[in-house]
């Protein structure tokens, strides 16, 4: 098992956001973490990365519990996060954004540039001057440069032009085909479901449903994901 999230409860100060999220991921699996707004998807991701350590429950990654580990150590276990909102280092160049994160492994600057040729064209440009789509590509590239065992994408295509979304989704599909484990949060079901091996749905901070995308009926979609 690559990742085990065991019944975690997480608090923002005194208000509780997660009440028992529970799921697991195998190596090489692509899991879609789903749910309406405010159901705890991003908080779950922050808990996995120990940016918001769970109050109770347990997270085990690659056989090692992540509790009491600072976020940089959790990242070094092999978790690459692409945070919500295209968060690059704005005052560094594209090249510097990528090399700052680099750790040895099969993902090198050449491979990232091959996955996103636009980044190669813009390597000397400041990240703040990139378009939204390019910044998202940079955020994914930066996470890959850490050579993760698990790539977490939080709303990776939100607010992007359709043509850029296609580029990002085709990159995600390529990463999955190469065997990378991916945990993805996204609202575009038509793109998300074909990529995912399994779906985990959260409702009110709890795991509500888990299963194959094929089993996610319209009824279930209406119940858990409809607005």
């Amino acid at each position: 098992m690559l990742l085990q999230v065991e019944n975690i409860a997480t608090f923002y100060g005194s208000s509780q956001a997660l009440f028992g999220v529970d799921f697991a991921m195998q190596e090489g699996e692509a899991v879609a973490l789903m749910g309406r707004n405010g159901m705890g998807k991003s908080t779950t991701i922050k808990s996995i990365c120990n940016l918001m350590p769970p109050h109770s429950g347990r997270i085990v990654f690659g056989g090692k519990p992540t509790d009491r580990q600072p976020p940089h150590k959790v990242a070094r276990l092999g978790i690459g996060l692409v945070p919500e909102g295209r968060r690059c280092f704005p005052n560094l160049t594209v090249h510097e954004n990528l090399v700052a994160a680099a750790r040895p492994g099969q993902w090198t600057l050449e491979r990232v540039n091959d996955l996103f040729p636009r980044l190669k064209e813009r390597h000397a440009q400041m990240a703040r001057s990139l378009s939204g789509g390019e910044q998202q590509m940079l955020a994914i590239g930066r996470a890959l440069m850490t050579n993760p065992r698990l790539l977490i994408l939080d709303e990776a295509t939100e607010g992007l032009a359709p043509v850029i979304r296609q580029d990002i989704w085709s990159a995600i599909r390529r990463l999955k085909d190469e065997g990378l484990s991916i945990l993805v949060v996204d609202k575009t079901l038509s793109e998300l479901l074909p990529v995912a091996d399994r779906c985990v749905i959260l409702e009110n901070g709890k795991s509500a449903w888990s299963g194959k995308p094929a089993d996610l009926t319209t009824e279930l979609q209406d119940r858990y994901l409809g607005v």
Binding site: P70, K73, F89, P90, N91, L92, N97, R103, M145, T146
Partner: protein, 325 residues
């Protein structure tokens, strides 16, 4: 290297700093050589601070500690070499500059490690205050240390030596300082362009984001702080040799402030910002200092103008916006 406007300005600054003492030497005006040497040494000290402040965003108000430690290493080793008494554990003093430089860098780096290890656990105004407090501790220690002159300071009777060079000749000593400054600036450029430099800048921009890519901001900053202290310490050793005198004033908070002023005047984070700042500062000190004792009032006005209207300092004003911010 691409010849951008900034590179051209850097080249002009480097050539001008070399040309002025050469002309002064030809004209038989050694005083200007001493002024240029002072510029080179202050620029080196500020280059050290620029690594912490300009690249890492660490506003250290305690870099005088490293500058002074470098100075005292030069003074103490030279005085023991002169008297023949051992310094510590039977080790004798030395008047060889390169040994003094290594000891100054090692000691400044060690003290930088201790100060950084504690102060980097804080940030913002607390970081500024803690670095200031540590520097003041070193200052008062020097003041109350009669063995090495206490408040009166310590004289270096004969300038320390460098193999094959008559260091008492002002032009020769200038050239030593000039070469070291260029090496210091080159080192700064290499560090800034490295993976470590990118991580140091990234940690300045967003600590949490840096952690999520597996970088521990604290360790990166501590390494940057120690490297910064070592460069400033080396400059301190040269400064003591220039004046052939070291006193607690090298350790005072005025000195820390002066180094920050040099960087702001020249351009924070700019490769040649410290040199531009030091040149401007020394030129002001010389030109206005001859007219009025209150020349720093006018320097204050200039600083105010720079902060309000030319955030990139002198280099930024001439070369345009920085690539890094």
């Amino acid at each position: 290297m691409i010849l951008t406007r900034e590179n051209l300005i850097n080249l002009i600054l480097a050539v001008a700093l070399l040309a002025i003492p050469l002309i002064a030497n030809a004209a038989g005006q050694p005083f200007y050589i001493t002024l240029a040497t002072r510029v080179a040494i202050l620029a080196l000290a500020a280059t050290g601070l620029n690594l912490a402040l300009g690249v890492g965003g660490l506003v250290s108000f305690g870099h005088a500690a490293f500058f002074g430690i470098g100075g005292y290493v030069a003074g103490i080793l030279a005085s023991h070499s002169f008297s023949g008494e051992p310094v510590l554990f039977g080790l004798s003093g030395t008047n060889q500059m390169w040994i003094i430089w290594l000891v100054a860098m090692a000691l400044a780096g060690f003290v930088g490690l201790a100060i950084g290890a504690i102060s980097l656990r804080t940030s913002g105004v607390y970081f500024i205050m803690i670095t200031l407090a540590f520097a003041q501790m070193v200052y008062y220690f020097a003041v109350s240390w009669p063995a090495y002159g206490g408040e009166d300071g310590l004289s270096i009777l004969v300038r320390n030596q460098f193999p094959g060079v008559m260091t008492m000749v002002p032009m020769n000593f200038f050239l030593i300082c000039y070469v070291i400054l260029l090496v210091g600036i080159a080192l700064f450029a290499v560090i800034r362009a490295s993976r470590f430099g990118a991580a140091l800048q990234a940690a300045r921009q967003n600590e949490v984001r840096v952690a999520t890519v597996g970088i521990q901001p604290y360790r990166i900053r501590l390494t940057g702080f120690v490297l910064s202290a070592m460069i400033t310490g080396l400059a301190g050793a040269l400064f003591a040799d220039l004046n052939r005198f070291v006193s607690p004033s090298m350790l005072s908070w005025h000195m820390s402030g002066e180094l920050i002023v040099l960087i702001i005047l020249g351009g924070t984070g700019r490769l040649f910002g410290p040199l531009a700042g030091a040149a401007l500062y020394v030129a002001f000190e010389y030109a206005l200092g001859g007219i009025t004792e209150r020349w720093q009032f006018f320097l204050g006005l200039i600083l105010l103008l720079v902060v309000l209207f030319a955030r990139g300092g002198l280099v930024g004003l001439l070369a345009g916006k920085a690539k890094h911010g």
